[in-house]
Symmetry: C2
Subunit: 266 residues, 2 copies
Amino acid sequence: MNEARTVILKIGGSVITNKSEELAARTQIIDRLADETQRANVKGLIIVHGGGSFGHPSAQRNAIKEGLRDPRQTIGFAQTHHFMTVLNGLVMDSLIMHNVPAVSVTPSSCVLTENGRIKSFEDTPLKMLLKTGFLPVLYGDAVLDTELGFTVLSGDQLVSALAMKFNAERIIMGVDVDGLYDADPKIEKNARLLTHLTLEELKKLQSKLDKPTACDVTGGMFGKIAELIPALERGIPVTIVNATTPNSVFKVLKGERTTSTLIEKE
Amino acid sequence: MNEARTVILKIGGSVITNKSEELAARTQIIDRLADETQRANVKGLIIVHGGGSFGHPSAQRNAIKEGLRDPRQTIGFAQTHHFMTVLNGLVMDSLIMHNVPAVSVTPSSCVLTENGRIKSFEDTPLKMLLKTGFLPVLYGDAVLDTELGFTVLSGDQLVSALAMKFNAERIIMGVDVDGLYDADPKIEKNARLLTHLTLEELKKLQSKLDKPTACDVTGGMFGKIAELIPALERGIPVTIVNATTPNSVFKVLKGERTTSTLIEKE
C-alpha cells in the first residue's frame, strides 16, 4: 500500500520535556510537532522520541544502564519503562488528536540488547505497520539485555538501527539547538553553525574536539552524531534541526530550506 | 532466578472499567487489585487484562475486528490501540505504586494473528522478564493480521496462548460474577453456582446451553471459557472468581478457599 522509502524523525527528550524538572512534559511543543507531522504528511515516516525528564532521572537513580546487580533495581526498571510509556502516551495522544494514524511500538517488547547494543529486533509488526500506512512511534526505553540483565536503549541507537534496517531515505534529528557548531555557541560568541558537512569533515571535527573538556562543545551533539555514523557511512543523510523552533521540523519534513546542519557521506 | 511455574491472572475489562460509559476506569478496583497482587506475591505471575470501555467502543465503531477494508479505519485502529495503552497505564501506575516490579508487554508489538488467531508471538522478552523476576502485564489489543490487515486480539485468547506456551500451573479468571452458574442468575432465582466442574461436565453444560437464546446464560461466561478449552485439555486448571469482591483474587492467588468455580480436566 505504501511503497515510499522510510524517513526517520527523532524528537529529542530535551525538546518534549523540561530536563530541569522530573516528569515535566512540554505538551505545547508535543502538540505543535504533532500538527507539523500531520501537515507535512510524509509517507513512510517513523518517529523515535527520547526520554528527557521522564526516562533519565529514574534510570540514573536505579543505575539501569549498568545492568542488574541488585534485585532492588527491578522496581526501578519497571518504573523507568513505565515513565517512558507515560511520555509516549502524551505523544500518541497529540498525534491521534491530529488525525495521524500513529501506533506506538514498545522497544522493550520486541528488542533485546547484548552489552547495550541491539542484538535482536522482532520487526515484523513494524514492517506491517509501515506497509499498511501507519506511522510507527518508538522511543528510548529500558530493555532486557542478554549479558547485563537489562539496560537502557537510547533513542539514538534505535534511530541508527531503524535507518539501516529500512535503508532509510534520510534521518531528521529534531534537537534543542540549531545544528552542529564549530565551537560551543554558549561560550564562543563567534561560534559558527555548520550548515553542511561531509562524513570526512565530521570525523575531522570530532577528532579535533575529542578531549575530555570538549565533551559538550558544539552544543552536546557529538554523542548523538557518533551513533549515526554507521548510517551515514551507508549513505543515509542526516539533518539536524531545532525542533523547539516552530515550523522547522515541518520544513525539513517537506524538504524545504531552513536553519539546520546537513551531514552527508560525500 | 525464578524457577516457579507460571500462573496466569486475567482481569476482565468489566472489572476494571465501567462498561456503560466510554473511557471510564474503575481506579479504586484497579488499586485494590494491585494491592492484592502485591500481598499475594505469587512468583511466576503474568497478568492479562481486558479492554472494557477503553478498547471495545472504539474497536466497534471502526469495525477493527473485521479487518482493514477502508483506509479511514487506520485512525480507528490507532485510537483503539492507544486507548488500550491508556487503560494499561492506569494498571501499571497502580502496580508500580504498590512496589510490584510489573512491566507491560505490548501485544501489537510482538504478536501477529492470521484470521484473528495468534500466528506468531515473539516471546523472548516475555520469557526473560519472567526469569528475571518481573511481573509481565499484557492486554487485549488491536493487532496486525496477516490476512485481515488488522483485527482485535482478545485478552482471553492471549490467556490461553500464554498458558500453553508456558505450561502454566493454573489460570485465574477474575470476572464480575461469582463464577459459572447452571442458569442465568439474573433471571433464574434458583440458579446454582457450580463450584467444581470437569472438562466433560463443562462440555455437556455448553452443548445444553448452546442455542441462540442461551448465549448469555451462566453469566455470559461461555465465550471466555470456550477460549480456554485447549488449555484445560492440556491439564491446566481454571478458576473463575469475582474480582469485584475484595480479597477474592487475593485468596485464589494464595490457594485459599473462596466463592469460585474450579474447572479441571478430570
